[in-house]
């Protein structure tokens, strides 16, 4: 799978917040085999003062996808993206423009505007969006080449609240990499997303807050592999009646 011009083989992107320690974070990254990690940037850590944590992340050899988590306005998101580019030396940015403090819903209007500004400025934007098709189109028009629809509100662990919307997105954007971002709680949620045909899953809390983050990281990657393989294998359609899997013809006549 290609994200912009980067080839990714493991279809999991891992967030780096809330782990019990940096050691458990790096072990989770190794166990998941993921190649991309997201890092949130606060203004205060941007000025080089988060160096201790960055150093640990850099040692993981993962590609860093900085994010604008917690930004509530276009200008805040754009400024944060620019600081992230300087700090991490990357054009990648996971763009979040939060519209509501409680649900952490994306402000899709601000998102499109910020995406337009950042794409014009040479960024490769990964927008955290809803599953709305028209917003998706606007984001592509703005220059995004990846879409990251939510599965459920950030950190809620509710799983996919609207699988039909994700299915519709897959059908509507057959050639755009789709990454389900946020809401995954369990491996089965990640597997379901992959079975729907999305290209990858981004998650954080589900692993970081698990009792055993390393074990959960490994389980997520296994689930994602299973879901992807299932999608490619063209699953059967469900039916509303039983169909015997053993042929009736040629049954032995007993007695």
């Amino acid at each position: 799978m290609k994200l912009y011009n980067t080839e990714i083989s493991v279809r999991l992107l891992l967030g780096t917040a809330q782990y019990p320690s940096p050691t458990s974070l790096t072990e989770a990254i190794q166990a998941s085999e993921c190649e991309v990690v997201t890092v949130s940037l606060r203004r205060e850590t941007a000025q080089g003062s988060g160096a201790g944590f960055w150093k640990i992340l850099r040692r993981t050899d993962c590609r860093i996808l900085p994010n604008t988590a917690g930004c509530h306005s276009v200008s805040e998101a754009v400024t944060t993206a620019q600081m992230a580019r300087d700090l991490f030396d990357t054009n990648w940015i996971k763009l979040e423009v939060i519209g509501h403090a409680d649900t952490l819903q994306p402000d899709v209007f601000g998102l499109v505007e910020a995406a337009r500004i950042l794409c014009a400025d040479g960024f490769e934007v990964f927008p955290y969006t809803t599953a709305d098709l028209i917003v998706g189109e606007r984001l592509l028009e703005a220059g995004c080449e990846v879409l990251m629809p939510w599965g459920a509100p950030i950190g809620s662990g509710q799983g996919l609240r609207d699988p039909d919307a994700l299915r519709a997105m897959r059908a509507h954007f057959p050639d755009t990499p789709l990454i389900v971002d946020a809401g995954i709680g369990r491996p089965s949620d990640a597997c379901q997303a992959m079975e729907l045909g999305v290209d990858a899953v981004l998650l954080n809390t589900a692993v970081a807050k698990a009792g055993d983050p390393v074990g959960m990281a490994r389980a997520m990657t296994q689930a994602i592999r299973a879901g992807r393989a299932g999608y490619l294998a063209d699953p059967m359609e469900p039916r509303d009646m039983a169909v015997p899997s053993t042929p009736l013809l040629g049954m032995a006549e007993l007695g």
Partner: protein
């Protein structure tokens, strides 16, 4: 003569354990009084190994179990337990917390009201950690310094340590590879109208809070955990979240005075556990992270045993991993 750099928590506790083992000790600290230069002055002062094991694991529980008795020798320790609460909406956090910890009992609205009448009718579910305790960090630092001096240890305030000290306890100022700063922000409220006698923890997915009662109607609230070495004063965002959480605990805190806010840098190694390690001729005790008052006694005993020629197996292991 054993020389120590740093009269903070680690330095004073180590000095005490060394003096008790018969060593003569001198401490150097650039500050002008006990703890004035130490991140421990911003601590909550909780001796809460069972709650901390939620994300810190069994080692913190094992090392921290001696802390309350140790501190009681020098300073008042309030052994009233910890009450962990969550608003009804965040009950899943409470269920998870209970699953991830031990040493607690589930408490109902009636029991919560009995423990803390001020919280009566506000919370329906909670966890009570009966064996936990708390102390006043600044008083504890002063009392410990006095106990250390009573044992004949010389504390040289306003004095930079020589470069070749035997024991370095300078926290985040120590230039150790892999040591990083985890910024914490806190506030002290004055609210004589509310009577709360034990440590409270409010579970919330985005703004967890602890509140520790201090003398004279004061409460310490904290603390953020930010991967940053910035020492600027607390941000509006952090204070807003902590103050809202205090208000969630009890609306009476709306009338509290904010009498102090502060930010400090916790020294931490990548596994967030403390280490004793040798660099050249100096032994370092560092990485107490958010567990200073809890883990300093056990770590100080280990480092003192090592420096006075005893060789506990674990100390040797730690030295080799350095």
């Amino acid at each position: 003569m054993i020389t120590i750099a740093g009269a903070g928590l680690a330095g004073l506790a180590s000095a005490l354990e060394l003096a008790r083992r018969g060593a003569s000790v001198r401490i150097f600290d650039p500050g002008d009084s006990p703890g004035s230069n130490s991140v421990a002055r911003f601590a909550g002062g909780m001796l809460a190994p069972w709650c901390e094991s939620e994300c810190a694991g069994d080692e913190v529980l094992a090392l921290g179990s001696v802390a309350a008795d140790w501190w009681t020798q020098f300073t008042p320790v309030t052994r009233a337990g910890t009450l962990v609460l969550a608003p009804p909406r965040d009950r899943p956090e409470l269920i998870r917390f209970a699953r991830r910890t031990s040493g607690h009992a589930e408490v109902s609205a009636t029991e919560i009201a009995k423990f803390e009448p001020a919280l009566s009718t506000r919370f329906r579910h909670g966890l009570f950690f009966a064996q936990e305790a708390h102390l006043d960090p600044r008083r504890a630092l002063r009392d410990l310094a006095r106990a250390v001096q009573d044992l004949g240890v010389e504390i040289c305030f306003g004095t930079k340590a020589p470069t070749d000290v035997d024991l370095d306890c300078t926290g985040i100022a120590a230039a150790l590879p892999d040591l990083r700063a985890v910024r914490g922000e806190m506030a002290i409220l004055h609210c004589p109208d509310i009577s709360i006698t034990r440590t409270l923890r409010l579970l919330h997915p985005r703004m967890p809070l602890y509140l520790v009662p201090r003398a004279d109607g004061q409460f310490m609230i904290g603390a953020t955990m930010i991967e940053s070495a910035s020492t600027r004063p607390p941000t509006v965002r952090s204070l807003t979240e902590m103050l809202s959480a205090a208000y969630t605990l009890h609306p009476g805190f709306a009338e509290a005075s904010v009498i102090e806010t502060g930010a400090g840098l916790r020294p931490a190694f990548p596994d967030n556990l403390p280490r004793i390690q040798r660099e050249g001729g100096t032994i370092y005790l560092n990485g107490l992270y958010r567990h200073g008052f809890l883990l300093a006694p056990a770590m100080a005993a280990r480092v003192a045993t090592y420096l006075t020629g005893g060789t506990a197996d674990e100390d040797i292991r730690e030295r080799k991993t350095a």
